[in-house]
């Protein structure tokens, strides 16, 4: 069955979990630079993510992708405009979200089990139930037997898998992922992408997924947003009409439609990347 992106209302979508709509309108974010000059990181970003949609964001480095995710999570306040999740204005930390950060954010003093357990523990799940579901998630990301290891005793790929389990265990309505597989080798990356797609299809949260890898964006997402160079805004939106379930992400790459979409997105992104590069190179 083909799930059309853009979430036509009324279409019967196979959704077993719950998810929420994200509405961003006129979002602007300015930072104070150390010299006292305001710096506009985001300008007038508007977009809507339908419930259960997998949306990838690509854009040149420094264009404000992480900033956008931080605003959706409620970690930071907008300078202008608004972020609404499930119809309610974001104030404080958004409920029902999970966030996989760009930087390594595992707690170094907790074991793998302790890290995965943190989410359920904080939401008030009993200790026994938390341990049980944590073991289950550790198994799902393929780390059974590593429950008692500390993060520094794991490889980079294993740490990312722990972070993924820790993010998914809360069964979020919204999943924010900031270059989650950025630092992984190609094979591990492909395995984890396939795993993520499988897990996403089970509970169907709305996903905002930042990446620099266009193949990854096209293979995973219903929709790919291209952002302009700084100050960031939405340049273009591409609907990815590849059928679901997509199965192995390594195989989908060879479909002609995949290549076609990938080319379209790249030609849109290329100018922005060059502009961003020229700016930083000129400033240096």
């Amino acid at each position: 069955m083909v799930v059309r992106p853009g979430g036509r209302t009324g279409a019967a979508e196979p959704r077993t979990g719950h998810s929420a709509r994200i509405q961003i309108s006129g979002l602007t974010k300015r930072f104070m630079t150390p010299s006292g000059e305001p710096f506009t990181a985001l300008r007038d970003v508007s977009l809507t993510i339908e419930p259960g949609q997998f949306c990838a964001i690509v854009g040149p480095t420094g264009c404000g992708k992480s900033t956008t995710l931080g605003l959706v999570a409620g970690l930071d306040r907008p300078s202008a405009g608004s972020v609404q999740v499930a119809g309610a204005e974001v104030s404080g930390i958004t409920k029902g979200i999970s966030f996989m950060f760009q930087a390594d954010a595992l707690f170094p003093w907790k074991t793998v089990l302790g890290n995965v357990m943190t989410g359920p523990t904080l939401t008030g799940v009993s200790k026994r139930a938390a341990i049980e579901s944590s073991r289950d998630w550790i198994r799902r990301v393929g780390l059974s037997g590593f429950e008692d290891r500390y993060p520094h005793q794991l490889s980079g790929g294993m740490r990312k898998r722990v972070a993924m389990a820790a993010a998914l265990i809360n069964e979020p309505e919204i999943l924010l992922m900031d270059e989650p597989f950025g630092a992984l080798d190609v094979q591990t990356k492909a395995i984890m992408q396939t795993e993520l797609l499988g897990l996403w299809e089970q509970t169907r949260p709305s996903v905002l997924f930042i990446t620099h890898d266009l193949d990854e964006a096209v293979a995973l997402a219903d929709r790919v947003l291209v952002m302009t160079s700084s100050p960031g805004s939405i340049k273009e939106s591409f609907d990815i009409d590849l059928p679901r379930p997509r199965g192995s992400v390594q195989e989908i790459r060879y479909q002609p439609r995949f290549t076609e979409l990938q080319h379209q997105i790249w030609s849109s992104l290329k100018d922005e990347v060059e502009r961003a590069y020229a700016r930083t190179a000129g400033a240096a």
């Binding site: 931080g70 999570a73 930390i93 390594d104 954010a105 170094p108 003093w109 907790k110 904080l122």
Partner: protein, 304 residues
């Protein structure tokens, strides 16, 4: 399968066209391991011989120089004299009773001071580290207080609170407080903002942020400071005792000073040094326990 002889194994590595079997490999590994073990044992023996040599050189030199009269033992004491003082102290006690009683008094003061100072330092450090405004308000004052040579406070405490235990505990606590406080404060400031963001997104209240991130992260700094802090607790208790006391190792030292008896002064120092080393060892044990999650430091100062 018969294991090849070591000679065969050695030949195998040089013979062209010979395929080494798994047995050979194990054999090789065994030999490598054994020679590594031998090397290590030899190194340990050499290390301890050298360490012993240093002690013999220093103490022996001291003994010889004072015997020859190149250094006046009236001022600088003499190792054999220090030993005699130690024997005297432990065998016959002092004019006021058993030496154990004095050690007990000094240790009680130091430990109370250490505990009180550590608790106060941790609480103040965590509170100020998390509250930017409060830290900015109090910052200059803390710097001023820190610049005061606090050991002098001992005189005031003795005058104010008499010759009892309390002023000693207080001086030790004040010295410990500042060390622990600055470390706890710094530890909170160094918390990885990513981890704070992560735990907040997971739904933590401010209290839970402290419990899951700030405190564990600051603990590395706090425990590192305890080594220095305990030494200062002992110093605080001793100095306050020297300034005025009815019991304690500090009293023994100050009375020996009055009698021009450097050997007993050194004996008191030696007793406290041994105790401090023992406490240091306990703190290291605690550190390894609490900070088990840390990657082993690449330059763990082994045996220093």
């Amino acid at each position: 399968m018969s294991a090849p002889s070591p000679v065969g194994g050695a030949l195998a590595s040089t013979t062209v066209g010979y395929e080494p079997g798994p047995g050979d490999q194990r054999d090789d590994e065994d030999r490598v391991r054994q020679s590594a073990l031998r090397m290590r044992r030899r190194r340990t023996v050499r290390l301890w011989l050298a360490r012993g040599g240093v002690a013999v050189f220093v103490i022996g030199g001291w003994q010889l120089f004072t015997t020859w009269g190149l250094v006046d033992k009236f001022f600088y004491g003499q190792p054999s004299g220090i030993w005699d003082s130690l024997v005297q102290l432990f065998a016959h006690g002092t004019a006021f009773g058993s030496i154990w009683e004095d050690i007990r008094v000094t240790m009680t003061e130091a430990i109370y001071g250490f505990v009180v100072g550590t608790i106060a330092g941790v609480i103040a450090g965590l509170a100020l580290g998390q509250n930017r405004f409060l830290a900015d308000v109090l910052g200059p004052y803390i710097k001023v207080v820190n610049a005061i040579p606090r050991i002098i406070l001992g005189s005031i405490f003795i005058v104010a609170f008499g010759f009892g235990t309390f002023p000693k505990v207080l001086l030790a606590a004040v010295l410990v407080f500042f060390i622990v406080f600055f470390n706890a404060f710094q530890g909170v400031r160094e918390v990885d903002p990513n981890l704070v963001a992560n735990v907040r997104v997971l739904g933590a209240s401010p209290f839970q942020v402290a419990r899951h991130v700030t405190i564990p992260s600051a603990l590395t700094w706090i425990i590192a400071s305890l080594h220095t802090a305990f030494g200062f607790a002992i110093i605080g208790a001793l100095v306050a005792e020297v300034l005025g006391a009815q019991h304690g190792v500090g009293l023994i030292i100050s009375q020996a000073q009055g009698r021009f008896d450097p050997d007993t002064v050194f004996a008191g120092m030696a007793i406290m040094a041994v105790i401090t080393l023992a406490a240091e060892y306990l703190i290291t044990l605690l550190e390894h326990r609490v900070l088990a999650w840390r990657p082993p430091a690449s330059s763990e100062p082994s045996g220093l």
